[in-house]
């Protein structure tokens, strides 16, 4: 009847990059949406509050984009504490909203549920409410038990990586979502998802029970976009690349000589004008090798 058609939410990568502005609170899913994060770095965005963990969090810190982190974990199996995170916190130049996984999840749930807080038991008796005064020790109104009231954690933009989406923002994380992805999505004002493939709406409808996000505000086609991390069903992590990055950052921060770091960002991010250029530099042979399980 109407002449209108259903709107596509597909964004070009550079448009998506523009959505993230200095000073915002953003969240990073798992695997990290590196294609989008490279735009954040390239666009020289600063003063972000970032909800994330591990290497991807440290990547944004090292790139100078971050003022404050909301994290439960800034280490890795291979390195006790992430170098940029550690150095910036010890210098007093990076603020930490100290928490832990259950507390973070509770705050995200509160945001998604439109509640001012959620109670949580993990953290009772610890230093967390002393260090992070946003956490309030409370008595439960039913039986008087001591719990922690976690305030809602609201996000401006959540950036995620997933397998597929149709052009209307119906996203399917094939083979499982990252731990917090759906919580980060629900707590956010807007969500952009980078995907390996954009598929037909019919493909989504053939298995609606696999749709994990039904209203992404934007989807961006970035195949191999989680590189150097894995994408389930598509490729495994690029171990060598990750270790190279860690070495570069470690050296940069231990020697107080940031050339190594700048070199890394120049070599793997800033010199490229598109994701395709990034992939070209990695080379098809290398990319194919990552698809061998």
């Amino acid at each position: 009847m109407s002449n209108q058609v259903r709107k596509s939410v597909i964004l070009r990568e550079e448009e998506a990059g523009q959505w993230v502005q200095s000073g915002m609170t953003i969240a990073i899913g798992e695997p990290a949406p590196m294609g989008l994060l490279r735009w954040v770095v390239r666009n020289k965005v600063t003063d972000l509050t970032v909800i994330g963990s591990g290497l991807a969090l440290d990547y944004l810190v090292a790139a100078g984009c971050v003022r404050k982190v909301i994290t439960y974990y800034a280490g890795s199996p291979d390195i006790a504490v992430m170098p940029a995170f550690r150095s910036e916190v010890e210098n007093g130049t990076l603020e930490v909203w100290e928490c832990e996984e259950g507390i973070l999840t509770s705050g995200l749930e509160a945001a998604g549920k439109g509640l001012p807080f959620m109670p949580w038991r993990g953290g009772v008796g610890t230093s967390l409410p002393d260090i992070n005064t946003d956490l309030k020790v409370m008595c439960d109104p039913i039986g008087g038990e001591v719990l922690i009231a976690v305030p809602s954690i609201n996000i401006d933009i959540t950036l995620l990586h997933a397998s597929i989406s149709d052009s209307y923002g119906n996203v399917q994380h094939c083979r499982g979502t990252g731990w917090l992805d759906l919580f980060l999505y629900r707590a956010a004002e807007r969500v952009i998802v980078q995907v390996e493939k954009i598929v037909s709406n019919e493909e989504i409808r053939s298995k609606p029970w696999e749709t994990t996000i039904s209203n992404a505000d934007g989807v961006v086609l970035l195949p191999y976009g989680a590189h150097p991390f894995y994408s389930r069903g598509y490729y495994v992590q690029d171990q060598e690349h990750i270790l190279n990055y860690l070495d570069a950052i470690k050296v940069a921060y231990t020697k107080s000589n940031r050339n190594e770091k700048d070199d890394y960002f120049e070599k793997y991010c800033n010199r490229f004008h598109s994701h395709a250029e990034y992939l070209d530099a990695l080379g098809a042979g290398h990319l194919i090798s990552l698809s061998e399980y």
């Binding site: 109407s2 058609v5 549920k113 609606p208 039904s214």
Partner: protein, 263 residues
């Protein structure tokens, strides 16, 4: 096809015209009039609407026909889904319900649009009439952008001065700040549509007010069948009848078995 619109068809068209492209439309159970309305709006002017039935979310603007199911519990009604909310949790994202529009009935409705689905009688432990319970209406009406009260009959037993129990808060004890004072963020009830008329709520007091009378219905009839004093504007128009297009689409592409033509 050329028989005039029934009252239920009229009600469905009134509601369909209220709906805007981009709305997320959730219909409660046992409400065939809104079930038809959301389909009609989706076909007529809603390429970006989402319909939410039985926890499934769908956009079926591309279909020629969006028929009502024969049977309310038909598991096949979700066949058009793009997602099932059972995967995540249907209440984990109420934050985004400002985009959502809801439809609700009631055993009792008062002049501020408060609704009772619990039951009738003084003793909640032994109700004179036990209702079906509140379903998700307290949460939905708390958070959705706006909602519509749709009644199968307009009588002073339903439209009462005061609900015996409140399942869903409308404008509480009245006043445009009343929801805000309670801390419930949604936009509240917008219209109350019955077999006799369309009503809305006044701007300041948020009292129920007559908007239009359905063809053939008199003001006296409405007053006699309303258990509270309705705000009556100076001019009360007749509810605009369905257009030829609306009725054709409604009958040929949605209500194939004539559910709204009977009873």
């Amino acid at each position: 096809m050329s028989s005039p619109a029934t009252i239920k068809e009229l009600m469905a068209v009134v509601l369909a015209r209220e709906l805007e492209d981009g709305d997320h439309l959730q219909v409660g159970v046992a409400l065939p009039v809104p079930e038809v309305a959301v389909r009609l709006a989706h076909i007529m002017h809603g390429p970006n609407m989402q319909l939410i039935f039985l926890g499934a979310r769908m956009n079926v603007h591309h279909l020629e026909s969006i028929p009502l199911p024969d049977f309310g519990w038909d598991s096949r009604s979700v066949r058009w889904a793009e997602s099932y909310s059972d995967r995540g949790h249907r209440f984990d994202q109420v934050k985004d319900w400002h985009k959502r529009v809801f439809f609700v009935g009631g055993l009792q409705v008062d002049k501020f649009g408060n609704i009772n689905l619990i039951g009738v009688g003084n003793d909640p432990k032994k109700l004179k009439f036990r209702g079906p319970a509140s379903v998700g209406t307290p949460t939905l009406t708390t958070h959705v952008g706006r909602y519509y009260i749709v009644l199968n009959n307009h009588s002073s037993r339903v439209l009462v001065p005061k609900c015996d129990y409140v399942s869903a808060v409308g404008w509480h004890k009245g006043g445009s700040d009343s929801r805000k004072e309670l801390g419930i963020p949604g936009g509240g009830p917008k219209l109350c549509v019955t077999p006799l008329c369309v009503m809305d709520f006044t701007d300041v007091e948020k009292r129920m007010r007559l908007v239009s009378l359905h063809p053939g219905v008199t003001l006296g009839e409405v007053k006699a069948n309303t258990g509270f004093e309705l705000v009556i504007p100076d001019i009360v128009p007749t509810t605009a009848m369905p257009t030829h297009d609306e009725l054709t689409i409604l009958r040929s592409r949605i209500d194939l078995n004539g559910l709204l033509r009977s009873g």
